[in-house]
Amino acid sequence: MNHPKLTRSARALALSLATSGWLLCGLAPAQAQPANAPIRIGIITDEVGPAKAYAEPVTLGAQFAAKEINAAGGVLGRQIELQIEDDQGKPDVSATMARKLVDANAVIILSLSLSTATQQAQTVTLETKTPHYTPSNSGDTLTTQLNNPWFFQSGPLGSTQVATLLSYARAMKLKRVALITETSALGQLTNRFFKEGLIRNGIEVVAEEVVPGGASTAEPQMQKIRAAKPDAIFLAGVVTPENVLMLRAYRQLGLKMPILASYNLSVPVYMNVAKGLLDGLAYVDAFDPAKPELQKFIAAWRKDHAEDPNGLHGYGYDGVYLVADALRRAGAVDKEKLRAAMQSTRGFNGVMGAKGSSYTFPEGKRTGFDESGMVVRIYEGDRQGKVVHVGTN
C-alpha cells in the first residue's frame, strides 16, 4: 500500500507545530489548581551544602507542622502540601529554585537555607510578587538590603541576640571584652552586630579574632585573647567544629573569664561534640522550657520521633503554623491577600521565644521576632541549663 508522501513544506509545518507545542508545554505557567487541590507552600532548604546541619532540622519541623495541620483538617478546607527544593546553600541556585516554585504555583516560599541564599532568592519573589518568608534566618540585613514588601523574617535577629546578651552582661559591669568568630558569612555578620552593640554600649573591644574554616587549632587566637586580658569573651561563631576548637583552646590555655555565646551554642549537638568544655558558658537562646506552647510542641513531637526536638525544629514548626494562620486570615489562596495577612500578623504565639513572647510584623517592619523574646541560658556541666535572663531590659 502506498502512503501519500508529505511535501517538504507540510513536513516543515508539522515539525514546527510539534516543536512549538512542546515548547509551550515546557514554558507555559502551570495551570490554575482545582478549588480543592492542596495549597502548595514552597520550601527552599539546603540538603548538601554548608547550611545543611541547620536547614535539615528546620525543614523537619516544617514538615511536622504541615502533618499536624493536615491531620486537623487543613487550611481553608484544603490540605497543605510542601514542595521542598534544595539550593545547596548557593545563592544562585536558591534564586533558580524560587523561580521553579513560583512556576509551580506555590502561594508562598519559605527560605530555610543560608542568609545569603535567602537574600538572592528575594530578587525572584520581588519580581514575581510572591510572598517569601524565612522563619529561621537571623541576618539583620535581610529586610533592609532590598525593599521587598513581599519578604518577611521571624528568626531572632543578630542585633536582638547581642542586645539580650548585653543586657545580661550589664550586671557584670564589663569594660573590656574580646570577640572571636569564624569565617562563615553568618559568623562574620553576627560578629559585626556583636561589635557594633558592644561599642554602642561603651564597652571596649580589646581583641578581635577569627578562626578560619578547617583550622586544626584555635590556640594562637586564644593566646592573643589571653594576652589582651579581657573581662569576658563574646563568641560569635556559628560553625560547630570551629566553635569547638575555640572552646577547647580556652580550656587548654586555662582561661577563666566568662564566655557569652551566640544562639548557635543552643544547638544540642554541642552537648555531644564539646563534652567537658561547656560548663558555665552563657548563651543566648530562643528556646524557653517554661513556655507552655513549647511544652505542648515537645509532647507532640515525642509521640512521633525518637529524639526530643530542639530550637531548629521549632523555627520550621512556627514558620508553617504562622503561614497557616495568615492564610486563614487572608480567606483565600491569593498572593496579595496572603502578603497583607502576613504583614498584619499580631501576637501570633509560636513555640519559640521567651514565655509570653509572640510574633508580630509591625506596620513598616517585616521582622517578626519579639525583640524582648530571647533568653540567656547557662550550661550546667554538659547540659543546657536554666534560663538566667529574659529580654533586653
Binding site: 569565617t183 578547617g214 587549632t217 594562637p220 590555655l253 555531644n272 561534640v273
Partner: protein
Amino acid sequence: MQDLIELAISATAGGCIYALLALAYLVVLRPTGIINFAVGDWATVAAFAGYLGLSRYELPWAAGMPLVIVLAALLGWVTERIAVRPLVERGAPVLAPILALLGMLVVFRESVSLIFGPDPLPVPQPLGYGRIEWGLIAGSYQSFFIMGVTALLFCGTWYFFERTLAGRSFEAVALDRKAAALMGINLRRVTACAFAAGGAIAGLAALLLTPNTSAHYLMGIPLAIQGFTALVIGGVGRIEGALAGGLILSFAEQLTVRYAPIPAGLAQGVPLVLLIGFLLVRPQGLLLARGSSR
C-alpha cells in the same frame, strides 16, 4: 616566652597533621604522577570510621586505630580500582584520573553526609583530656600524641623507601615508569599499593585530628588544601619534604595569627601567600628528589 613555646608545640602538632596529608599525596604522586585531591575525603571517611569504632562501639584505641587505618587503606585501594585503573588501562591522559578522583571526593562526602547526617560527631582523645606542663614546655596530651605517632610514621616510611627492596621499587617507578616496567616491576601492583598507602596515611591524619575538631562531613576540602599546600612547599621529591612543608605551613599560620600586627581576617591569607611565593621562587619545593639536578 611561655607563649612562644606553647605555640611552638601547638604549631608542631598542627604541622604533623599537614605533613601526614602531604605524605598521603606524595606516596600516590611519586609513582603515578596523579595529584589525588580525594585524600581530604579519605580522611573524612576515616574520621567517621573512627567515630563508629572509638565512640559508638567504644573500642580501645589500640584496637580501633589499626582497624580504621586498614579500612582507610582498603578505601584507597578500592578508589584506585574503580576510578583510576580503568582510565589508565584505556590510555587516558593523566588529567582524567585526577578529575575522576575529584568526582570520588564528592561521592565520599555525600555518602558520609547521607549515612551520618550533617552534625559533627565526636572522636575521643586517646590519652584523655589533659595537659603536660614541664617547665616552660606545655601542651595537651593530644599534641604530644600527634607528634609521637607522626615521628614514628615518618621514620617507618623513610626506612621503607630507603632500606627495603619494595620501597626502592616505588622509587624506581617514580624515576622512570617505563624503565621500571622493563626491569620487571609490576606497575599495577605499585600503583595499587601507593593508593592503599595514601588512604592509610590520610586515615591516620584524620584519627589524630578529629579528637580536637570532631568528625564532620565538610572537613575534607580544607584538609586537601592544607595537605597540598604543604606538599608544594616541601617539594614532591622526598618524604622529608612533606614533613618540612607541613611544619613550615603550620608555623606560618600560627605565628602570623599570634604575632603579626595585621587584622585577624588578613592573617588567614598568609599561608596562601606563602604558597604563591614558593611557586614563584622555588617551584620544585624545598627539598629536591634524589637524582634531580635542580
